[in-house]
């Protein structure tokens, strides 16, 4: 393979503590190395910013729910479907882009990894088909467990070992990466027309509470020693006053210690925290609770979170939180899609317009930014838009610009139709902080890599690490003052290296790279009880035969398997 030397760039690498120093980065055989031969190709990065490839810890980019969004929203791509010159295919869709556009756009922004945030185990094959078709970027997928019948039955009796054995079995069957939990218990309650809005609301029939599910799944995660932690979308998403439930859930992590060999320190990842940081009793007196939530998160070292920034666009909400989507449909009366996934989960989809003229939407926008700006440890705060729920991931450059320029975000804040109301109900106007490029590298590279248990090879530029490198047209000595310029620079990398190969040059995709599907193979002691339960459930309830359940290797031919061994625990 070819060798490269990236010369004179301003390097930002939290792994080595490099904060913008001029440094040469050498690449050989897909890895970062200390030095290369004289025949290495030189990339001039003078006046540019060099970082590791970015990792998206939470996005809905592949699978049945994303695809249902695509087919039920033809209007999303009617005016936005075009072919760019070069080797790329037609790119269609705004909030629910095609798999091709997904891969290209991530790469153009400097990303080399995205985690599909909710995989229904029964439809894992579809998820892997789409992952396989998404070019350039590496991906993994988190199967959902928070409303799974097995899990609720085992955890009701506090059987952590059986829970872990079942999780290990599912990860292997679905080629899944970790434990995702969406509205614990609430989605199952939805099958009875109910919901769980606090961590104490019992799940009908199963007689277990969301709090017990969360605690049990965290313990099972640490029993297995998985690379990623328990990853939760909490109860009562999107409702004014929900921050109390949020804090109740986060407090469940107190006293639980991370057990793993990957350098991961957190035991709970709280996703799209913006949607869970609301004060007030209704949309009239709705206020930001970002301060209350971040005061807790900042001092609690075993928690990480991602923001879920509202981008003020028309988008498509989609989640395994079935009752929430029904609730949202009642608010905006737009088309509603709902599906139940047998013993496992459910999903809903509703289009949504985050209208800057509506004070509620503008406050949501402010809350998302506040969370990132209040975060004291950038290694535990990651920037997302919960794509496509709070906005499409293609808006990341704008979110970055709002975080890096007080002027830019104040322009937006002060021109809202209800600016007075928005400013009064949020903290943003009083925050002067502007995110530095080093903090940005923590939040988008080193931080998510560490939280996903990938810190050994990804998220940094230390010799020996994977040569996933993004070079931006940003000169830290002359940092752009206009928000639009910052956006442009983050939307079009000068270069993107993926596995040591140039995949994007001057914002243009030049190589499809070699993408990998990451999944975790967890070994557990033989468990006859769980295997018996699985057989029985398939015979009695599932619509498919147990033998038709696993994802065959042909669905993920380029797999990157991470093994963990819980047999000695």
């Amino acid at each position: 393979m070819s060798e490269f030397i990236i010369k004179n760039g301003h390097v930002f690498d939290p792994v080595q503590g490099i904060k913008g120093d001029k440094k040469d980065i050498c690449v050989k055989d897909g890895k970062v190395v200390d030095k290369v031969g004289s025949s290495a190709k030189t990339i001039d990065a003078t006046g540019k910013t060099v970082m590791a490839g970015a990792l998206d810890i939470h996005a809905h980019v592949a699978g049945p729910k994303v695809n249902a969004g695509r087919w039920y929203r033809p209007e999303d791509k009617h005016f936005d479907s075009h072919k760019k010159a070069g080797i790329t295919r037609i790119e269609g869709g705004k909030s629910i882009p095609t798999v091709f556009k997904t891969g290209y756009e991530y790469a153009r922004m400097g990303f080399t990894f995205a985690m599909e945030a909710a995989m229904p185990p029964l439809y894992a094959r579809h998820v892997h088909e789409e992952i396989h078709d998404t070019p350039i970027i590496d991906e993994g997928a988190l199967p959902v467990f928070g409303n799974n019948w097995f899990i609720m039955e085992y955890l009701k009796n506090q059987e952590i070992e059986n829970t872990a054995a079942y999780i290990a079995w599912i990860l292997r069957q679905t080629k899944g990466y970790g434990i995702k939990c969406v509205n614990p218990g609430g989605t199952e309650a939805w099958a009875w027309g109910l919901n769980c809005l606090t961590i104490h609301d019992p799940v009908p029939y199963f007689d277990i509470t969301p709090g017990e599910i969360v605690t049990g799944l965290m313990k099972a995660n640490e029993y297995l020693g998985l690379p990623h932690s328990f990853h939760v979308h909490q109860n009562d998403l999107g409702n004014p006053g929900n921050y109390k439930t949020t804090l109740d859930t986060l407090k469940l992590a107190e006293g639980i210690k991370a057990q793993n060999t990957f350098g991961r320190e957190q035991v709970l990842h709280s996703t799209h925290l913006q949607f869970h940081s609301y004060k007030g009793t209704n949309w009239g007196d709705f206020e930001s609770a970002s301060k209350e939530v971040m005061d807790y998160v900042n001092k609690q070292k075993n928690i990480t979170f991602d923001t879920g920034n509202v981008t003020l666009d028309e988008t498509t909400t989609m989640t395994a939180d079935g009752p929430f989507e029904h609730h949202l449909h009642g608010l905006n009366h737009l088309k509603w899609f709902n599906v139940d996934v047998e013993l496992e989960t459910a999903a809903g989809i509703v289009p949504y317009i985050y209208d800057p003229n509506i004070s509620g939407c503008a406050k949501q926008w402010a809350i998302g930014l506040e969370l990132a700006l209040f975060a004291k440890d950038p290694m535990r705060c990651f920037i997302t838009t919960d794509h496509p729920n709070a906005g499409p991931f293609t808006r990341y450059p704008r979110v970055y610009a709002w975080l890096m320029s007080k002027k830019y975000r104040d322009e937006r804040l002060n021109t809202f139709k209800n600016a007075d109301k928005v400013i009064a109900g949020t903290h943003l106007a009083g925050i002067d902080k502007e995110l530095s490029l080093y903090e940005f590298a923590c939040m988008t590279r080193a931080g998510p890599a560490k939280a996903l248990g990938l810190a050994k090879d990804f998220g940094g530029l230390k010799a020996g690490m994977n040569a996933d490198i993004a070079i931006y047209n940003i000169n830290p000595d002359k940092f752009p003052s206009a928000g639009a310029e910052i956006e442009k620079a983050f939307a079009n990398v000068a270069y993107l290296f993926k596995d040591g190969k140039i995949c994007v040059e001057g914002g243009k995709v030049v190589d499809m790279g070699k993408k990998h599907t990451f999944w975790v193979d967890a070994k557990v002691p033989e468990n006859k009880q769980v295997m018996h339960d699985i057989r029985e459930k398939f015979l009695r309830y599932y619509s498919v035969n147990e033998n038709n359940y696993p994802v065959p290797e042909s669905y993920a031919p380029h797999q990157h398997i991470i093994t963990v061994d819980a047999t000695k625990a």
Binding site: Y72, R73, P74, E75, D76, H78, H333, L334, K335
Partner: protein, 266 residues
């Protein structure tokens, strides 16, 4: 006002997507530049000059530009689509999306139009001196934002699903329509001078539909509440006022429920 005349000189083998045939795209261009504007046929791009003889230069702005299209346009899509000002006359029948997403100006088709014409029209005047197909003035497939402004007039008949998801503006059909008129309407006004088949105003939230002729089968969700003497598009008559669709949600204003209205001429 400058006039640009387009005359069809070659028929497309498939269909020609004339997204660039409107006063906005022509504004400020000479005939030779207009001939260079692109037009898709299937996945291939050609130019307007390949299919039309073009004479006359456009005005400086769309408002100063009039376009006359002569020859057989039955295989031309998107004529006058997205226009915001100026004038356009098509002396032929046209294919789909004619006058769709129109925001202003005046568009006249002297012939029939196919389906999906006047989609999500937001302003201006669009007159069809012939018949129209299905989904006239409706929302694009999957969208919930149909015609929101302007005046759309059809001299002949129109097909089914006319003005689905209408939210504003006025549609006048001087002939008959088929099924599903004004489905999901949330505003605007439909005047039907002829007859309708079935399912008029299904799931209608707000808005007004006037029917001069007969409805083959009336929706069950409509209830007569009285009679009114009215002047509708130049005709003075007595109309029976029905409110509905009672099976649908309705907004409240000052404590009163706001219903849609279906007025049937006596």
């Amino acid at each position: 006002m400058n006039t640009v005349t387009l005359t069809v000189k070659k028929q497309p083998e498939l269909y020609l997507e004339c997204e660039n045939v409107n006063p906005d795209a022509f504004a400020g261009k000479k005939a030779a530049d207009i001939a260079k504007l692109g037009a898709y046929q299937g996945k291939e791009t050609s130019t307007l000059g390949d299919f039309f003889t073009i004479s006359g230069d456009a005005g400086a702005t769309a408002a100063d530009t009039k376009i006359v299209v002569n020859g057989d346009c039955t295989k031309m899509k998107y004529l006058g689509a997205k226009m915001t000002a100026g004038e356009m006359v098509v002396n032929s029948a046209c294919d789909m999306y004619t006058g769709s997403w129109m925001k202003g100006g005046k568009l006249t088709v002297n012939g029939d139009v196919h389906s999906f014409c006047g989609l999500a029209m937001a302003g201006g005047e669009f007159t069809i001196n012939g018949n129209a197909g299905n989904y006239l003035g409706a929302a694009y497939r999957g969208d919930w934002r149909g015609m929101s402004g302007g005046v759309l007039r059809v001299k002949g008949n129109a097909g089914s699903d006319v003005c689905s998801f209408m939210i504003g503006g006025t549609l006048i059909v001087e002939g008959d329509v088929d099924i599903h008129l004004g489905t999901h309407m949330e505003g605007g006004k439909i005047i039907l001078k002829g007859n309708a088949n079935r399912r008029v105003g299904g799931q209608l939230v707000k808005g007004e539909i006037y029917v001069f002729g007969k409805i083959n089968v009336m929706m069950p969700g409509y209830k007569p509440v009285g009679e009114q003497e009215m002047d509708v598009d130049g005709t003075k008559a007595t109309f029976v006022d029905y409110i509905g669709d009672l099976g649908e949600r309705h907004p409240k204003r000052k404590g009163e429920t706001v219903y849609g209205h279906l007025y049937m001429k006596k």
